[in-house]
Symmetry: D2
Subunit: 137 residues, 4 copies
């Protein structure tokens, strides 16, 4: 299992008039979480697109909103990969507030797609190789 944590400061722009973070802004936090998780094991998503011809469109997402998140909170985004990816990769995400309470849980599933042909491809070797270190294979 691969687990990574990163922190994000909530922006004013991300709140809405309910005084909470708008429910549609969490996917951005999830994105930051998984991109930083990949960077931590030496994989740049930008590099995947620009130098490996691989893009990773989202196929599905589910989110549970357990507690509101507020302006200026320094949230912790915990990103978990619990299975080695094959044709797609699942990121489980948990967001914690400054008190350490869980606020949000979610799962995002992304495909691997050839940028030129737009066809689905298996997970690139460089990603598998780095992730494999965290699994008993």
């Amino acid at each position: 299992m691969f687990v990574h944590e990163t922190q994000i400061r909530v922006r004013y722009s991300e709140t809405d008039r309910m005084n909470y973070v708008y429910y549609g802004n969490y996917p951005q936090y999830f994105e930051v979480g998984r991109v930083e998780a990949m960077r931590s094991i030496g994989i740049s998503y930008k590099d995947l697109e620009e130098n490996h011809g691989v893009m990773m469109p989202v196929k599905s997402m589910s989110i549970k909103y357990l507690r509101p998140v507020f302006y200026d909170e320094l949230i912790t985004v915990k990103t978990i990969v619990s299975a080695l990816p094959e044709r797609s990769i699942n990121f489980h995400v948990e967001i914690f507030n400054e008190k350490g309470e869980i606020t949000t849980g979610g799962t995002v599933s992304l495909a691997f797609v050839n940028i030129e042909t737009k066809e689905s491809i298996p997970c690139p070797e460089i990603l598998i190789k780095q992730l494999a270190k965290y699994f008993d294979v």
Copy 2:
């Protein structure tokens, strides 16, 4: 069953460098869909907040991304309520592109909350009353 359709023109700001609508912008389309659905039966969400003291935070959401949506497309957002709400309301959403193809499907579940006490309450009578017309009760 209550079904409503509204149309939205995709903005440049909503695309990302993959040339698609960013996956985190669909919740905004879902929001427009359900607000217009409610308006069509005489319920203003703004009015619920400002004059009835009820807010509707999102409790959970799931989305399937079936086909990309592109810049400047005039999409159709179909919003469906298939059961009378009690402590929460589920909106099923389907988004269609200009060719009539389904691009996105999702469900959003919202609670009814007293704006002052922040406590969960049952669905307001004025909403039940308008929705009931679409159900065999």
Copy 3:
């Protein structure tokens, strides 16, 4: 002088915890205004990019925030072109609330750029031709 008006319903996502539209969301309204203004004279910005190889990055913008705009207001975006474009085009924008009060004024200046070479080019003929009808030339 070319003048065009379009209407936009303010989304919940566009508000912030001050209860107003977030100051950074007005550029999106300006974008909708100028794209619809161009569409009204037969010019699709998408078509400019995809079939004419022209893109229009923003070079500068200024905004005055005169009155707040609120959730669910149906605002009117007035877009004005007061001079025929040469190497760039200036859109003046005024946003009015439902009472007809001006809320926001701004100017956005955009360049014409060849999508392949990224070099600045003169205003495309098809755009000049349509705009010229509104000027004594």
Copy 4:
């Protein structure tokens, strides 16, 4: 003169199909710049709102877009206050890319407003006091 720098990683969500950061997302970067600038001298904008009853709506903004900013760049936001605020405060902002090139310049002017009465007020003493250290007064 008071000068502060902070860094921001460009998110995928902030790009558009032109492959650049969308022109309407820079105000968010400006916001992060000024909030972190204030935090660095012990002033929390959240605290101003919640405990001092002061909010700071934006009155005007101007931006020059000199070079595009790209996905995943670690940009530096330089925030400058060059005069002690009276009824409003001006933040000058410069954004630099990883090569140290300036990409964007701007100015944002914000008012001080009493949250209850919505009336303009002078700059709060606690902010003046902290800023004064950077000026020959």
